[in-house]
């Protein structure tokens, strides 16, 4: 019986250690959606560095920059002395991820998620990695409620505009989002139809196919519009100018991570897109 206090003390110490092991304090985050979730959980102050796709919230931009998520440099990340690298599913290259693990760094790769359930999955995943399960559950609950409301509202529109999402323009051929892309997913959630049918992924679409698809609205990332020097360059193309979208100058430009990130701002993205597509 006299040993009990010391046993209790030992157990308490173990618990403290375990808690510390599960709550990393120097986090490197790669992937805009993952970074947003960390901030939404209130753990932004534990982030020491982010990748180039993490542009929201504004505070994230002031962190150390590790470059593009698919071109991570193992030793560069180790030089920041992090205790966790948490990253989107497509972080790479694989060799760099292997090297980081070999050096004893904890690396957590998120599940893929550009569906409503996917958003919640990512939130719970980040919560688990940061030792904030309860907070993550609360956040997931809030997002779920908000997202279903946004989707309901989008469904209640009577029209279903046909939308084409152009990712970029290479060699004069617009790279268009087909099925199984996050753009296709967010268009559907906003109660609209993807006018680019019959292929999946991002594909260069021919002029005739674009005219044939007859989109009502042209959707692009605002970054891409800036790079092209304005929307007119797209709308005046011989293909788009012959579509309803071109004739009526109906286009929507939205910040890329907000529109396609499927992070905590997904409900807001669904709402803004649904409104914007109807000329709101």
């Amino acid at each position: 019986m006299r040993r009990l206090p010391s046993l209790l003390l030992a157990a308490a110490l173990l618990l403290v250690q375990a808690a510390h092991a599960d709550s990393p304090q120097r986090i490197v985050s790669a992937g805009g959606d993952i970074t947003e979730i960390i901030y939404a959980l209130g753990a932004g102050d534990r982030v020491i560095a982010v990748d180039s796709t993490s542009n929201h919230p504004a505070e994230a931009a002031s962190k150390e920059q590790i470059g593009y998520i698919r071109r991570l440099a193992a030793e560069g990340i180790l030089s920041l002395q992090p205790d966790l690298l948490i990253a989107a599913h497509d972080a790479g290259p694989p060799a760099a991820v292997e090297q980081l693990r070999a050096a004893g760094l904890r690396v957590e790769l998120a599940p893929k998620g550009d569906t409503p359930d996917g958003v919640l999955g990512k939130v719970r995943f980040v919560g688990k990695a940061l030792g904030m399960d309860a907070e993550a559950e609360a956040l997931a609950g809030r997002i779920e409620t908000d997202l279903s409301k946004a989707i309901e509202t989008a469904k209640s529109y009577t029209d279903s505009p046909r939308v084409i999402f152009v990712l970029s323009e290479r060699d004069g051929a617009p790279l268009v989002a087909g099925a199984e892309t996050s753009a296709d997913a967010i268009i559907a959630l906003a109660g609209a139809a993807n006018a680019a049918e019959g292929f999946s992924g991002y594909k260069p679409m021919s002029q005739e196919a674009i005219i044939e698809a007859a989109p009502d609205v042209l959707l692009m990332m605002s970054q891409t519009v800036e790079r092209l020097g304005g929307i007119d360059a797209m709308l005046a193309r011989p293909d788009f100018s012959l579509t309803p979208a071109g004739k009526e100058r109906r286009y929507v430009a939205m910040e890329g991570m907000f529109l396609l990130g499927f992070g905590p701002r997904a409900p807001e993205a669904v709402r803004s897109l649904a409104t914007a597509l109807r000329g709101g």
Partner: protein
């Protein structure tokens, strides 16, 4: 090293006692050492010693043995392989602008690699797990070898490997390779597209010992083989007929050189992606330093190529940590101006 062949007087004078090679070797050793001890993570001499004695902590020993050492080894293989391949191609074709890219080996290797990236998921599942990481280098290597075999059998069929035929076949292969890569890009999904972009930037950060050793073994075998070709390459400079009368079997020599070039370039491109510029510049620099005799140019080009690649890698690792620009950027930025400066110097002396 001081041969009895008739060297141009100037080069012969400068090669007296060959301090040039000692200097080039020393430069390479210094860069290689820097590649190991310098990096975004500061490791003290104590850390390095501990790792060498096998008592290092997990972090430092992983950084040294899993990140920096494989890079240094692969960098040397890439530098040697590309420099000597370029040197040999320029010698055989008697064209100072010849390059492994010319006969389409690099393009063939690229098609192999791109095929693995894009079509990999159709057969990756059937491969045993430990083999999967090596599918990319293997694909690139096979692609490079296929092209070389094809180009050579084609040119042999025309009764003797004629240089113009070889170059034209190379042009055709490059065009076909371009079309195949275009087709792959067309059917790739965006994830694969990003992998493609990443691979095509070139990097020696492969970090996988298995891959590094396979590449290094192949590139080094080809390197050693090419280093013995000095006399043949010198005789090739007289023209093929004269070379034949001087008693070398020109067909056999050409085959050997082509095969070794293909092995080196295939292996290097597989592991590091298409890194340009070295195959063109290292031999030129070597000629500026040691004169035109191939028995001197070959080893000098290898040392310069190795130093250039390691220097470039060091530059990209130290430039803007924690990020790392692609190495191709640095090879051009370091090699280009230096090469120009060398040319200018020669021009001033009126001995270009």
């Amino acid at each position: 090293m001081s041969g009895t062949t008739v060297l141009p007087r100037q080069a012969a004078a400068r090669l007296a006692g060959t301090p040039v090679f000692a200097l080039l070797g020393a430069a390479l050793l210094i860069v290689a050492f820097a590649e190991l001890v310098l990096g975004p993570v500061k490791l003290g001499p104590g850390d390095l010693l501990a790792v060498l004695l096998g008592e290092g902590e997990r972090g430092p020993s992983a950084i040294l043995l899993q990140i920096r050492l494989p890079r240094a080894v692969l960098g040397l293989a890439v530098g040697f392989g590309l420099a000597l391949s370029g040197c040999a191609m320029q010698g055989v074709l008697r064209n100072p602008l010849a390059d492994p890219g010319l006969i389409g080996v690099t393009a063939g290797a690229a098609v192999g690699a791109v095929s693995v990236i894009v079509l990999g998921n159709y057969f990756m599942g059937d491969l045993p797990a430990p083999v999967r990481p090596y599918a990319l280098p293997l694909g690139a290597f096979i692609g490079g070898m296929l092209v070389t075999g094809f180009v050579f059998s084609l040119s042999r069929r025309s009764g003797g490997t004629n240089v113009a035929m070889l170059i034209l076949a190379g042009v055709a292969v490059n065009a076909i390779a371009g079309a195949l890569i275009g087709a792959m890009v067309y059917i790739s999904d965006d994830q694969q597209l990003r992998d493609l972009t990443f691979w095509s930037m070139g990097s020696i950060a492969s970090g996988n010992w298995m891959q590094v050793s396979v590449t290094t073994a192949l590139a080094m075998a080809a390197t050693l083989g090419l280093l013995t070709m000095g006399r043949s390459l010198d005789l090739f400079q007289l023209g093929e007929r004269a070379a034949f009368h001087a008693g070398i079997d020109i067909e056999r020599e050409k085959w050997r050189i082509a095969l070794m070039t293909a092995i080196a370039v295939g292996a290097v491109t597989a592991a590091a992606g298409p890194i340009g510029f070295i195959g063109l510049v290292a031999p030129h620099m070597a000629r500026l330093i040691v004169g035109p005799a191939h028995r001197n140019v070959l080893p000098a080009a290898a040392l310069i190529g190795g130093a250039l690649i390691l220097g470039a890698d060091l530059a990209v690792r130290l430039a803007v940590p924690p990020t790392e620009p692609p190495i191709g950027l640095a090879t051009s930025m370091i090699g280009g101006p230096f090469f120009l400066w060398l040319l200018m110097r020669r021009l001033k002396r009126g001995s270009l």
